[in-house]
């Protein structure tokens, strides 16, 4: 049995700012090893794990999930050891007051810290009506300045401190479910493929640096040259104030110029055949996810996108529904089974 809770708990606890994903890679490497044939880390720090198929043509499917997370780096060490920070990736400064984080020291130890707040007793009227900026937010580690200067330097990485928590009805909350939850889905697919006959080689790419411009997926696709690529990322779930992908009702299947119509249709057909619910997710402009970079690599790669519905994206309290993760495993497994020699020919434009 695939232990979803344990895997999600462990992978979301790990430190992995964009460009510094090595702890996450080490963990995935260890966990996925029994399910795959070979693996390696490429130049830009993405991790590739390959499950060989039985087909004669050695066609390749690439499944890309990014493993980096948003956060901050230390911009300056101020008097009394307070830290000024620079964001890495898109963090909303409105969520930061009284938010707990970890700053990673030179020995890779995680030091707890909190963003400062001015209490209501002392806040000025104009501060109440102003959105905080990175000029008005600093981190407090509780350490003495000389200790801070010994262990932390400009550029030290900072991530949210937030543990994976079960809510009601298969919902879970935590940090960096964007996009480690999809990485765990990839691992579950690899686990599933151990008992499934499939023709194509499946390249599971755990890509780096998505949050700073989908960098790792593009270079990985260039190197692998897949025949088909599916990016898997979180999509905007339905929540108060936003009518998005409903949680617990299956993945979003991206539709629009970024995605090859045949793959989109095949994914829909697989879902229908297996009674897997899904929501079509229209994306009028390419970009944002790994699919955006992958599609235009070399002479172009047939690409699709599966979205895991997620609420409160880019906060330490992102919420997913575990049912959706399991639906995606079912859908991808069914799709992989359909990939054979003829499938390649079907990808040509008429």
């Amino acid at each position: 049995m695939f232990d979803w809770e344990k895997n999600l708990q462990q992978i979301t606890d790990l430190y992995g700012l964009s460009g510094e994903e090595s702890s996450v890679i080490q963990w995935i490497q260890k966990e996925i090893a029994p399910f795959v044939d070979e693996s390696y880390v490429n130049t830009l720090g993405s991790f590739v794990a390959i499950k060989k198929g039985k087909g004669s043509q050695r066609a390749k499917l690439m499944i890309s999930t990014h493993i980096d997370e948003i956060g901050f780096v230390v911009g300056a060490i101020l008097e009394n050891g307070f830290l000024r920070v620079e964001p890495r990736g898109g963090v909303d400064p409105k969520i930061l007051q009284a938010q707990e984080c970890f700053v990673r020291d030179i020995h890779n130890e995680m030091i707890p810290c909190v963003f400062s707040t001015v209490p209501p007793h002392l806040v000025k009227p104009e501060e109440r009506t102003k959105v905080p900026s990175y000029d008005t937010l600093i981190l407090d580690t509780g350490l003495e300045e000389k200790e801070v200067r010994k262990r932390i330097h400009v550029g030290s990485g900072i991530i949210f401190k937030s543990s994976f928590t079960k809510l009601l009805s298969d919902h879970y909350a935590g940090k960096t479910l964007d996009n480690r939850s999809c990485a765990v889905i990839s691992m579950a697919v690899a686990h599933e493929l151990m008992t499934v006959l499939h023709d194509w080689d499946v390249y599971f790419v755990f890509s780096s640096q998505e949050e700073v411009g989908t960098k790792g997926a593009g270079t990985s696709a260039w190197e692998i040259e897949p025949n088909v690529a599916i990016a898997m990322d979180v999509g905007f779930g339905s929540q108060n104030g936003h009518d998005g992908l409903p949680l617990g009702k299956g993945p979003g299947i991206g539709i629009g110029p970024n995605f090859t119509p045949k793959i989109v249709n095949d994914l829909r057909e697989c879902a229908d055949n297996k009674y897997i619910p899904f929501t079509l997710e229209p994306c009028a402009r390419p970009g944002g996810t790994d699919a955006g970079s992958i599609q235009i690599v070399r002479s172009g790669i047939p690409t699709a996108l599966l979205s895991l519905p997620l609420r409160y994206m880019h906060t330490p309290v992102e919420v997913l529904n575990l049912k959706d993760c399991k639906y995606i495993v079912e859908l991808l497994t069914a799709y992989i089974k359909t990939l054979n020699d003829e499938y390649l020919e079907g990808l040509q434009w008429s």
């Binding site: 007051q97 400062s116 209501p120 007793h121 937010l137 600093i138 509780g142 909350a173 929540q239």
Partner: protein
């Protein structure tokens, strides 16, 4: 010291039961008399050498938090604030709803990608809500309902040289009073230790406690604002961590007697206990009720500086705890000569 256990307990204003039960158990062996009044104040008497005067030490048990106001049909929990909480500190925080069942929840916000023009709008309290993972209000029947208290989901932890927790305001005062009682000292005069309720919603518990005890002299033990960080102008620091207990000259509700101010200063100097003077008139506390209650009485306030007060995560300095406890103990054992003048 039981500060860690106290801070981890839930107890918003009016719902201090768990805190009161814990404290009552802790101090049972050291009390000459225990009373719990109509408002839930826990009043613990220590008999003195002389019963002609009544001395009172008071700290409040309640903490700021939230309360369930409404459960929408889609399972979203709307809340009101209990005590002074700024909306800006709430988005993306974690809370625990103390209903028939204890539920974990998160306070949602629209992802930054979708905010469009609202990106520069400050957070408004009425736009906030709690997500417990329910698909509809039916999922929540029998678990939580309107009026259930909600506390911040923050566990006590050591933070560098400091301590971190929710509710240092004012479990730190409660913890100091418990430590004082455990010394089992016979004071000069009969002394009541009051663990008060409902300070954060308008100094309610201390009003009825003062009426019953009618103290000749009282000391309020409190966690107070420390805004000592480099982004805040020096004149808003109010107090600073690590510089000892803060003695107040005045707060928003009361001007303290110079006699008491001098008394506190002289006791700390005599015992070489560091202290600081609270520099800014900001916030108020139970001393207002005590000072102006009934015939009025002498009252003073000793405060432990706490950073990020009234938020889910506050920090304080262990040395400030020790020095405040030492000063409170020294005052407790002093001959209060100003009362007989």
């Amino acid at each position: 010291m039981v500060l860690k256990e106290l801070c981890n307990l839930p107890g918003i204003s009016g719902y201090e039961n768990e805190v009161r039960t814990f404290i009552r158990h802790e101090i049972a062996d050291f009390a000459d008399e225990i009373k719990i009044d109509c408002l839930g104040n826990l009043m613990v008497k220590k008999r003195g050498h002389n019963c002609s005067k009544h001395i009172m030490y008071l700290a409040h048990m309640d903490e700021v938090g939230l309360m369930v106001e409404k459960i929408d049909s889609n399972g979203i929990v709307k809340f009101s604030t209990v005590g002074g909480i700024l909306p800006s500190i709430l988005p993306a925080s974690r809370v625990t709803i103390m209903g028939k069942k204890t539920l974990q929840g998160v306070i949602g916000i629209l992802p930054i990608h979708l905010q469009k023009n609202a990106i520069m709008d400050p957070i408004k309290m009425d736009s906030l809500y709690i997500d417990v993972g329910a698909s509809s209000d039916k999922d929540l029947q029998g678990s939580i309902e309107m009026g259930d208290p909600i506390v911040f989901n923050t566990a006590y932890e050591e933070y560098g040289r400091l301590w971190k927790a929710k509710a240092f305001d004012d479990r730190v005062g409660c913890s100091i009073m418990i430590d004082m009682l455990k010394q089992n000292i016979t004071p000069a005069y009969d002394t009541w230790f009051v663990f008060a309720t409902q300070e954060e919603v308008g100094l309610r518990g201390s009003a009825t406690a003062t009426y019953q005890i009618q103290p000749d002299f009282a000391v309020v033990l409190e966690g107070t604002t420390a805004c000592d960080n480099p982004l805040v102008e020096r004149n808003r620091y109010t107090t600073q961590l690590g510089k000892g207990p803060a003695i107040s000259i005045a707060h928003n509700g009361f001007v303290f007697s110079k006699k008491i101010f001098d008394f506190f200063k002289s006791v700390s100097e005599k015992h070489q206990i560091p202290y600081q003077i609270k520099e800014k008139v900001a916030g108020g506390n139970d001393a207002t009720n005590i000072g102006k209650g009934e015939k009025g009485s002498y009252v003073g306030s000793l405060s432990v500086p706490v950073r990020y007060i009234h938020s889910p995560v506050s920090l304080m300095h262990p040395e400030d705890y020790q020095n405040t406890l030492q000063l409170a103990l020294a005052i407790y054992q002093e001959n209060h000569s100003f009362l007989t003048l």
